[in-house]
């Protein structure tokens, strides 16, 4: 029985009078696919922000296998292999799709970024296009970000997050802003690529169809607490979850 790849124990976080996290404890086995559900303000994104170092918990501990990672900033967390995508795709709007990918690869290459070696060398561009191809957005390589559709932006966001060795990927609402008929194809593609690389996945979602289809386990958040932690069918039929999250009739 190997140790879980990600463990949160008794994590607490308040912003003044608002409790964003209350005694949050989570244990994620390696290679698992978890989803995080809950209404707005329930604490899902705060949890993701704390795991990825954007926010520091008031108390409690977060561990990558047996290594304490509480309080390490985004840069350090990324270097440890914990990567994330964003609710609103965080891209470099002045650069093309290919250039965005080149930046991601240059930062995560084995050698530190060069001072004089070209940032757009043919070798680098080939590697960038290969990654873009895996996410089926290679044809947009020369386009600028504002010209892209929501789905393509999300895919690029995730593709960039895959640069370097990814152990855990946290996807923050990967299908929000994506057309309804594109949600499943996008998730098929993304989960497929992540699975292939053996990446442990946690994704925040509001769409319960996506939740049931892609996750093995669901964490339900409410008012900063985890009110359910089980397989999708169990969680979605839980009375509290119905009351506080999905609003489905009893």
């Amino acid at each position: 029985m190997s140790i879980p790849i990600l463990t949160a124990t008794g994590v607490n976080k308040s912003f003044g009078a608002i409790t964003a996290a209350e005694n949050v404890s989570v244990s994620v086995p390696e290679g698992a696919i978890f989803s995080l559900i809950g209404t707005n303000g329930a604490g899902k994104t705060t949890f993701v922000n704390m795991v990825t170092g954007y926010i520091t918990p008031d108390s409690g501990s977060i561990k990558l296998r047996d290594r304490e990672i509480t309080g390490i900033g985004p840069r350090g967390i990324t270097r440890l292999g914990i990567h994330r995508s964003f609710q609103i795709a965080q891209l470099c709007n002045d650069l093309t799709v290919e250039e965005n990918m080149l930046v991601a690869l240059a930062i995560n290459a084995k050698e530190p970024p060069s001072f004089f070696g070209s940032g757009r060398s043919s070798a680098a561009r080939k590697r960038a296009r290969e990654t873009l191809e895996r996410f089926q957005i290679e044809r947009y390589a020369n386009m600028l970000i504002p010209e892209l559709s929501g789905g393509v932006k999300k895919l690029l966001d995730i593709a960039m997050a895959m640069a370097g060795d990814t152990e855990i990927m946290l996807l923050d609402e990967p299908t929000s802003g994506v057309a309804a008929d594109e949600k499943f194809p996008l998730m098929d593609l993304v989960i497929g690529v992540l699975r292939e690389k053996g990446v442990t996945v946690l994704f925040v979602e509001h769409d319960m169809d996506v939740v049931t289809r892609y996750s093995e386990r669901v964490l339900a958040f409410y008012a900063g607490r985890i009110i359910a932690d089980d397989a999708p069918d169990e969680v979605l039929s839980d009375a509290d979850v119905r009351r506080y999250v999905t609003g489905a009739p009893a």
């Binding site: 985004p74 990567h83 891209l91 002045d94 650069l95 995560n108 070209s118 940032g119």
Partner: protein, 314 residues
């Protein structure tokens, strides 16, 4: 940009400058020399603008470099321009290396104001130090060129040639740096520094390097200016001096290196011409010009020279 195009551009620049040495009268050569020296400072600002920061305090390094030139000639009696340029760059490089990591933690307005404050500290310090001339400043000996001590027109031409050569070298090096992986990361920082941090890079480290290069370019420009003018004073560090360097950087934009020096030459021409005929109104024109650039050419003159990499769109 392939090495071939870069070499061709460098050669073209050298040819144009060489033609100037033959064709231009000495007052014009002096003007171009000063413009190129100041252009070096603005090039450093452009390097930082590519990362989203505007330094309103490059006068700090311009003044430091200029005073290094004055000190070396006054204290050691040495006036070799190559030696002085190296010394100035080392001194401002040290200052830039010390200050960069500190300043690079600030953004936007605060970076601008803090850089301005530091240059005003230097101004205030030098203005009160009578040992180095106070507000009167210091004179700088006539430069020599690796043993050669020209006078008159030969001196003017030698200064012009040296400055032109240094400018082309600096321009080529910075262009290569801008095209490098770090250069691309700098552009990404300007667009979305949060993402760059999340990709695993240190924004602070990247901007500290840009600051360092800006410091060294500032010192080099200041040293050359000092040797051309024959005089330095604390005004080199006053915020309005820094403002002019920013003006040129905005006029040029951050897309093209030659545009920086073109903009600097334009400013020097406007300044000389206006000082002669409109001494009390030329700043009105300057301000209006800056507004026009902000409204009509938000990416600066460089956007006219360099087409955007993908297609013809802005």
């Amino acid at each position: 940009m392939s090495p071939m195009i870069l070499t061709a551009a460098a050669l073209a620049a050298c040819t144009v400058l060489a033609a100037g040495a033959v064709l231009l009268p000495d007052w014009a050569m002096f003007l171009v020399t000063m413009a190129l020296a100041k252009g070096l400072v603005s090039l450093g600002i452009v390097g930082m603008m590519r990362g989203g920061l505007v330094s309103f305090g490059q006068g700090l390094f311009y003044c430091l470099g200029a005073y290094m030139a004055a000190m070396v000639t006054n204290v050691f009696g040495v006036a070799d321009i190559v030696l002085i340029s190296v010394v100035a760059m080392l001194a401002t490089g040290a200052a830039g290396a010390a200050l960069g990591p500190l300043l690079a933690t600030y953004r936007g307005i605060f970076f601008a104001m803090l850089s301005l404050a530091l240059s005003m500290v230097l101004y205030g310090t030098f203005a009160k130090m009578s040992s180095i001339g106070g507000t009167d400043g210091l004179t700088v000996l006539t430069p020599t060129f690796l043993g050669w001590a020209p006078e008159g027109l030969a001196l003017q031409t030698a200064l012009y040639a040296f400055t032109g050569f240094v400018t082309v070298v600096a321009g080529v090096l910075m262009r290569i740096y801008f095209n490098s992986e770090r250069g691309l990361i700098t552009l990404a920082i300007r667009a979305n520094e949060l993402r760059v941090e999340y990709l695993g890079a240190s924004v602070r480290n990247a901007m500290a390097w840009n600051y360092l290069f800006g410091a060294m370019l500032g010192g080099l420009g200041g040293a050359i200016a000092a040797m051309s003018l024959g005089h330095v004073d604390p005004e080199f560090a006053f915020w309005t001096t820094s403002g002019e360097f920013v003006f040129v950087a905005i006029l040029a934009g951050y897309l093209s290196v030659p545009a920086v020096f073109l903009a600097a030459i334009i400013l020097e021409l406007v300044r000389s011409f206006s000082n002669l005929y409109f001494p009390n109104t030329w700043q009105i024109f300057l301000g209006a010009f800056l507004l026009a650039v902000i409204f009509l050419l938000p990416r600066g003159l460089g956007s006219l020279i360099e087409r955007k990499r993908t297609g013809d769109k802005e």
